[in-house]
Amino acid sequence: DCSAYLKLCNKNGHYKYILQRILSSSVSSHWPCPKRKYSYKNKECCLEEEVEFTQLAADYKAVNLGQGFPDFSPPSFVQEAFCKALNGGFSMHQYTRAFGHPNLVKILAKFFSRIVGREIDPMEDILVSVGAYQALFCTFQALIDEGDEVIIVEPFFDCYQPMVMMAGGTAVYVPLKPVCCGPVLSSADWVLSPEELASKFSPRTKAIVINTPNNPLGKVYQREELQMIADLCIKHDVICISDEVYEWLTYDGTKHVKIASLPGMWERTVTIGSAGKTFSATGWKVGWAMGSGHILKHLKTVHQNSVYHCATAAQEAVAVGFQREYDVFGTEESYFHQLPIHLHEKRLRLADCLKSVGLKPILPQGGYFMIADISNLNVDLTDPSTKDEPYDYRFVKWLIKEKGLATIPVSAFYSPEHRNEFQKYIRFCFVKEDTTLQAAEDILRQWSDSK
């Protein structure tokens, strides 16, 4: 197949670059031309990487700490709720309300009204989606136009960039960076430079995307940091897209703060949540977008013209789960209290093991993941098949093949502009059964003993 860049001048005198790829299809040369948004697909997309490395991990029978989902079951009360739902009459198997099953939106509104500190309207201010992923999709499709700029904080969950592109927007990146002095041992030490952030806002900026707790770093933005972002959003009249799927997973007493609860922010924030991450049931694909009705209505338009409904029984089960959590909120019985405690220890254990082999973990304040600095390790990465790849990619492949341990390279979470500066970290997921983590520890201990 051949590719060509065409430079076109549109009627406003602005140049538009279109990449056209003509497929070598035996049927025709005039179609199908995929839209430019898909032609220019960032080949080093993390999910693709996850798929590629998953295959490699399977081939080498590696212990898999790469994939970002639990290998344990959801809590029993939520599994029981699902079983009850699917035995609960014909309506559980037929279409429900398009913008969200009534039981679910009502309990989400009730639950989050208490947290955000305002009355959230279940019918106007909430859209239920097929996972947080689809909520993000609806948000970008609804609000981003050709030429709009969207600020993305790096490292970022990889789908933000292609989604911005698909909506015709331009991604503008601003990196979190480790503070230059002192030991860098926690995700709290990775910060935004206020001057650098402010410089990224322009008259074309439509939105900024933040993710807290962050994937892959695990950073939980403090109130002051969010206030700084909020001030800029208000000053430049920008929408804030706040991906908070890991909101219940914070450690060491760190508090998750919702930027939508800051003054002046409810009207301009879309907050994204996930039942999959909340209840360790990622395969249910139930998520939501929450925000002021005047913005949410546009997300609803995208939703009603793309998937229209989400699965009924899963929504009912999530609603029951949230009702239970509402009733026991703040008590020891709450899953939102128990899960982070459970994961807190796993996180520390893994960090200790990583240190023992000379890796330098960045202890996350929240989320599912931990990144570790690999620069101190001198391993032989002369595998010819990985010669031209970034250092962390080569290291990850070496780790799978030579040690049987699977992880994800962190440079995949960076923009092409900044990728080269962040090639010395790899990402581990610690939301795994003890047996999995034990197997990983055994590998690391053997490695350490052999040094």
Binding site: S25, S26, V27, S28, W31, P32, C33, P34, K35, Y38, K41, L47, Q67, F69, P70, Q79, F82, L86, F90, M92, H93, Q94, Y95, A98, V130, G131, Y133, F137, Q141, A142, L143, D145, E146, C159, P203, V238, I239, G264, E267, R268, G276, A281, T282, G283, W284, K285, H294, H298, T301, V302, Q304, N305, S306, V307, Y308, C310, A311, T312, A313, A314
Partner: protein, 427 residues
């Protein structure tokens, strides 16, 4: 008018020399909070408008196309079992859970009489609706024309528009004594030109229930091949085919496999519309673009539901062609309901169009000569008729002088409808 507290003038860009006015009111109504252009005008939706009315339990709902009969028990049990397996509560393969895509390749391999690659030629989506969306987003571009046959399932037009395409409509028309709804061949040919990217067909058709015959599909295929266009074939009701009719897949006609995306639905197949699972089947050089859309919009569909549908399909595969097969038994059950509904309507003086497939029936209401002048005079007759029917406690949908009724309903629902219709006769 709401309180305008302050008017603030902003100079937007020096080059464009445009001025934006930002009005500050209680909700900070900002220019920037406006919708993106791609969804302009797509916010209205007839279902959203009427479903709140239909939610009234005293109203007999024959409007929306979903069953009030239960799904087969083994399908529900399959889901309960899947939900008990830890791994099946976590993410699965993005383009489709392996159990499901392999089952589909088996079932449809038999139907198409060809080897289907489960990983490259099948994509699992959020319902037939999601399949349509992936198809349009993947393959329709700014300026493309897409031919749509009227009457059509309402989402086709907004989806084409959202993808930047231009809908080109052509109606099915009633001809002859047999009251067949057909396309005028000259008219159809005239709709194709160099800008035509695709034609959308829906067979069995919603709302009419027409099943396109082999020769009708061949005529469409000939035009697709002549003009080198794609065909998007919405076949969600493919198993609901009544005696004397045959569902033909346009993708099986010569020269059509390479240019056709065929859409199917677990919801319609197993009477589980609330599971929202569907699939697109086609050649890998087209499916790969739908997969790209999937990867950038949803990433993956729910796992336990896919597992259950996969298991259900494997069971049906063994029974295909036998009376026990749900695809056969459901069609038989619905044929009875179809005939019952047609009889009910005739007794009221209305003329039903007896469908060849699907679970809708359209009815010509002109004979009723219903006086709707008391319903207000600024709306089309059919909108007023639907509202009148709702007041009379029966909910349905409408176009022109027809209303559409859904008959995949349990006997007690049909009994209730019959009682209401009989009362009109007396009135």
């Amino acid at each position: 008018m709401d309180s305008w507290r302050t008017v603030k003038v902003l100079q937007r860009e020096k080059i464009c020399n445009m001025y934006r006015i930002v009005f500050l009111n209680d909700k900070m109504a900002s220019i920037k909070h406006k919708n993106a252009k791609r969804i302009e005008g797509l916010d209205k939706n007839v279902w959203v408008a009427f479903t709140s009315v239909a939610a009234d339990p005293s109203i007999v709902n024959l409007g929306q196309g979903y069953p009030d009969i239960p799904p087969p028990s083994y399908v529900k049990e399959g889901l309960a079992q899947a939900a008990m397996v830890d791994r099946l509560n976590q993410y699965t393969r993005g383009f489709g859970h392996p159990t499901l895509v392999k089952a589909l390749s088996k079932v449809y391999g038999k139907v198409y009489d060809r080897q289907l690659d489960p990983f490259k030629e099948i994509l699992i989506t959020v319902g037939g609706y999601g399949s349509l969306f992936s198809t349009m987003q993947a393959l329709v571009e700014e300026g493309d024309e897409v031919i749509i046959i009227e009457p059509f399932f309402d989402c086709y037009v907004p989806m084409v528009k959202m993808a930047g395409g231009k809908p080109v409509l052509i109606p099915l028309r009633l001809v002859g004594y047999s009251a067949d709804w057909v396309l005028d061949q000259k008219e159809l040919a005239s709709k194709f030109n160099s800008k035509t990217k695709a034609i959308i067909i829906n067979t069995p058709n919603n709302p009419i229930g027409k099943i396109f015959s082999r020769s009708e599909l061949q005529a469409i295929a000939d035009l697709c091949i002549k003009h080198d266009t794609l065909c998007f074939s919405d076949e969600v009701y493919e198993w609901l085919v009544y005696k004397g009719h045959e569902h033909v897949k346009i993708a099986t006609l010569p020269g059509m496999w390479d240019r056709t995306i065929t859409i199917g639905s677990a919801g319609k197949t197993f009477s589980v519309t609330g599971w929202k699972l569907g699939w697109s089947i086609g050649p890998d050089h087209l499916i790969k673009h739908l997969q790209t859309v999937m990867q950038n919009s949803l990433y993956t569909c729910p796992t336990p539901l896919q597992e259950a549908v996969g298991q259900g399909l494997l069971r049906e595969f063994e029974l295909m062609g036998k009376p026990d097969c749900y695809f056969t038994s459901l069609a038989l059950e619905l044929e009875g309901k179809r005939d019952r509904m047609a009889a009910m309507l005739r007794q009221t003086g209305m003329t039903p169009v007896v469908p060849e497939g699907g679970y809708f029936m359209i009815v010509d209401v002109t004979a009723l000569n219903q006086d709707l002048s008391h319903m207000g005079d600024d709306e089309p007759y059919d909108y007023k008729f639907v509202k009148w029917m709702i007041k009379e406690k029966v909910f349905c949908f409408q176009f022109e002088k027809y209303i559409r009724l859904c008959f995949i309903k349990q006997e007690s629902t049909l009994d209730a409808a019959e009682a209401i219709l009989k009362s009109w006769n007396k009135g």
